[in-house]
């Protein structure tokens, strides 16, 4: 059993409430940070821990914090990005539902480190129950003196507000989130300036994922060096992975970074293998926007080494043969799933969620969706595949925010690795309506050896 830091007490009855959470050692980090450490010490610990942003990009959190501009007399803000809407990712919701105080505790420590007097948790609008849970948790923490004026008599004051979003995927992009938080239309801003210089209301702002903020708690409790001992190389600590799709035991798992993908899928400790005795066909390893990989490439890198659940190992081979850690939305597909249909479905999502601000993404996502609809419904032609490839290439890198890239990558990867399935769809228009392509050459190598 791997070490867990965030979900250790998940099964303790009543952990949602303040009392039980406190009894299990909660809010120790607040006491430690506020009473014995300076804000810079906290930043230094987080830097030492090697914690990387858990929202998708994997940018080192400590470094992000140290970029925060600190002009005199200007407010600074910490904003927690709880607008979790990536298809396949549901780890933040799980954390907020069951251990809301872990987030609040992390918010206090992080805000203290950044010198923020006001912090916001921007929660996706659909998560109304979680918003109520968080508001209750904030009230409890305030009651106990961990929030509000003069926390624990240290002179540090902090208010945390929960802001429901409107349920737009684009508001998970940090600058769109800030726009939305300011009450405007959630369109991503053009960077620079970066939020660290001019963010919320034009003030320096740090936007962090729920899990990144919660992870500061064990870092402060045990020290950054202790945290950095978990994991491999530059992927330190633990990560919540939300496993879904055709696995036997879908759910949120906290893994030590460095667990082999094979173990994650097949071990009973985690997903427990592919459901119904089927074979693994493909995996989307980090939420819908990361490239899909066929089974042989997700289990082993192109060089034949076992692929591990780390930022580096998953990205091994670039986009040719690798993928990304992303936000940890691990979706497994069994042999009965259709990659074309899935790609179309993802593209449908991105078309719907594109903000419409910049032309390549606005027009391109719609175009890709229409082409994929055609192919999936047996109306495609061979040239459509090349056209689709062209369109995704024209979107990628030419947009304001990463949504364009996120829309282009799954399409590119699907064509790159599953081109014959697209071709089969086009060559057999009527048959493709009644059955799926199946496994073909990218068979599950593990199951094959057993056979």
């Amino acid at each position: 059993m791997g070490r867990t830091l965030l979900l250790t007490h998940i099964n303790v009855p009543g952990i949602q409430g303040f009392e039980v959470y406190r009894q299990t050692g909660g809010y120790r980090s607040v006491e430690k940070a506020l009473k014995t450490m300076s804000p810079d010490d906290v930043v230094e610990e987080v830097k030492k821990s090697g914690l990387r942003g858990r929202g998708g990009a994997g940018f080192p959190t400590g470094m992000k914090w140290s970029f925060l501009a600190k002009p005199e007399g200007v407010a600074r803000y910490l904003v927690c990005n709880a607008d979790e809407s990536e298809p396949g990712t549901f780890k933040d919701r799980y954390l907020m539902t069951h251990i809301p105080h872990a987030l609040i505790e992390g918010m206090i420590v992080s805000s203290f480190a950044l010198g923020a007097k006001t912090s916001y948790i921007y929660v996706r609008g659909e998560m109304m129950p979680q918003i109520r849970i968080l508001e209750k948790a904030i009230a409890e923490a305030k009651n106990a003196g961990f929030l509000g004026d003069n926390i624990l008599g240290t002179g540090y004051s902090l208010e945390i507000y929960v802001q429901p979003g409107g349920g737009a995927y684009i508001c998970g992009e940090e600058t769109a989130l800030l726009e939305s938080l300011e009450g405007k239309r959630g369109n991503p801003r053009i960077k620079p300036p970066f939020p660290a210089v001019a963010g919320l209301y034009g003030c320096p702002t740090v936007v962090n994922n729920v899990e990144s903020i919660a992870a500061t708690v064990p870092i402060i409790n045990d020290g950054g060096e202790e945290y950095a001992k978990i994991g491999i190389e530059r992927s330190t600590g633990t990560k919540l992975i939300s496993a879904g799709g055709n696995v036997k035991r879908p759910g949120v798992y906290e893994i030590e970074l460095g667990v082999p993908v094979e173990e994650f899928i097949y071990s009973d400790e985690y997903c427990g293998g592919i459901a119904n005795g089927k074979k693994l066909k493909a995996v989307v390893a980090g939420g819908s926007s990361v490239p899909i990989l066929p089974a042989n490439l997700i289990l082993k890198t192109a060089s034949g080494a076992p692929r591990l659940m780390t930022y580096e190992s998953l990205a091994d081979g670039g986009f040719q043969t690798g993928t990304m850690m992303g936000s940890g939305g691990f979706i497994a597909f069994d042999e009965d799933q259709c990659v074309v249909r899935n790609t179309w479905n993802f593209t449908r999502f991105y078309r719907h969620e594109s903000c419409g601000q910049c032309s390549p993404c606005r027009e391109g996502t719609g175009w890709m969706e229409k082409i994929l609809y055609k192919i999936e419904h047996g109306l495609g032609t061979q040239s459509d595949i090349d056209l689709l490839w062209d369109v995704q290439k024209n979107i990628e890198g030419n947009t304001i925010c990463p949504l364009g890239d996120a829309a282009a990558w799954p399409v590119a990867a699907a064509i790159r690795h599953f081109r014959d399935e697209f071709e089969w769809h086009i060559q057999n228009p009527s048959e493709s309506q009644t059955r799926n392509f199946g496994l073909a050459h990218y068979a599950d190598p593990l199951v094959q050896t057993v056979d």
Partner: protein
């Protein structure tokens, strides 16, 4: 000792230029002028916050600055990226930029109705120019183009949402020039549209400027609608004492009639000064105005084609009597110009 003005030296396609810090790459390129100026569909120098959206002005920064010579990883929007000292920018010399621009133009055109033959903007349309310069000959888009329900935004301004490329310029005009914002973007993605608040008419003093800033035919002048093609009308600069605006306009004549009044536009299609709606819509008599001089128009533009009618006949015409008779009109016009 007088403080020396700090200037950044940047090179765009190998042409060096010294500009003030804080200048964007696009404006630096405009200072050089010519072919290397990236096209801009959404950026409007007079509107704060505009730009960055259409992505036609993408350029490649091959050298970040003197201090940090690393190239920028992606193509950047030149209208929103400020220059650094020693920056090297590639625009038309970079194949990446050329192909990205082609791609963006294609994206802008896939849902555009291409109804230029019945569009009042034709001839002074930025998207037309862009299409001619960077577009493909053949469309690869085979689906139905996006259409919207027409909405009426008053008796002065015609909104053609089907033609809109969502540059947001008109939204910035409404935000920054008028005292109340009456329209904005509804919905998102490829179904987002410019609309007014519950189909209100746009009725503030300066809202007519949305017509001038619109790069395409999405917002056109209803008082000029279907009256004439712009290249048959002749622009003349004029002014009047206007209590609300500067009163400096361009009148568009057809014969002795003023068909249309617009702001004075510079070579990049941006108005020098915004004009009020009274000047634009309600003063259409020559007697309302003090005429200045014919507006200089670019010789090789669509509009220019009707305004530079000097006829330089090739040798073959000079020698042949029949051909001279056939070109009588052209000779006569050239005579008149002299």
């Amino acid at each position: 000792m007088a403080e020396e003005e700090v200037k950044f030296r940047v090179s765009i396609d190998g042409i060096p230029v010294d500009v003030a810090p804080g200048t964007t790459i696009l404006n630096a390129a405009r200072q050089i002028g010519g072919d290397i100026v990236p096209p801009a569909m959404c950026y409007y120098s007079k509107l704060e916050g505009s730009g960055g959206k259409c992505r036609t002005c993408l350029v490649k920064v091959s050298k970040g600055s003197e201090k940090d010579p690393r190239p920028m990883p992606k193509l950047v929007a030149s209208c929103r990226t400020t220059v650094m000292d020693g920056m090297e920018v590639e625009n038309i010399t970079s194949p990446d930029v050329v192909s990205a621009r082609k791609a963006v133009v294609e994206m802008l055109l896939i849902n555009h109705p291409l109804d230029c033959p019945i569009c009042d903007q034709a001839g002074e349309c930025k998207l037309q120019d862009l299409g001619y310069e960077h577009g493909e000959e053949q469309a690869r888009y085979e689906f139905a183009r996006r259409t919207f329900e027409p909405i009426d935004i008053g008796d002065k301004i015609q909104l053609h949402m089907n033609r809109c490329i969502l540059c947001y310029r008109c939204v910035y005009v409404a935000n920054q020039l008028t005292n109340q914002r009456e329209h904005g973007i509804l919905y998102r993605g490829d179904h987002s549209e410019i609309s007014t608040y519950i189909e209100n008419a746009l009725e503030t003093d300066f809202i007519g400027n949305v017509i001038d800033v619109c790069p395409v035919g999405a917002l056109t002048d209803k008082t000029f609608r279907f009256k004439n093609r712009v290249w048959f009308t002749k622009p003349v600069d004029a002014h009047r004492d206007c209590p609300t605006c500067s009163g400096k306009v361009t009148l568009w004549y057809k014969g002795a009639d003023v068909l249309r009044v617009t702001g004075r536009k510079d070579e990049f299609g941006e108005v020098d000064e915004f004009i009020c709606d009274t000047c634009r819509f309600d003063r259409k008599q020559t007697s309302d105005w003090k005429l200045e001089e014919p507006t200089p128009v670019e010789k090789y533009s669509v509009i220019g084609s009707n305004h530079y009618p000097e006829f330089n006949p090739p040798a073959v015409i000079k020698e042949d009597k029949k051909l001279q008779t056939a070109n009588k009109e052209q000779f006569a016009r050239t005579e008149k110009l002299k």
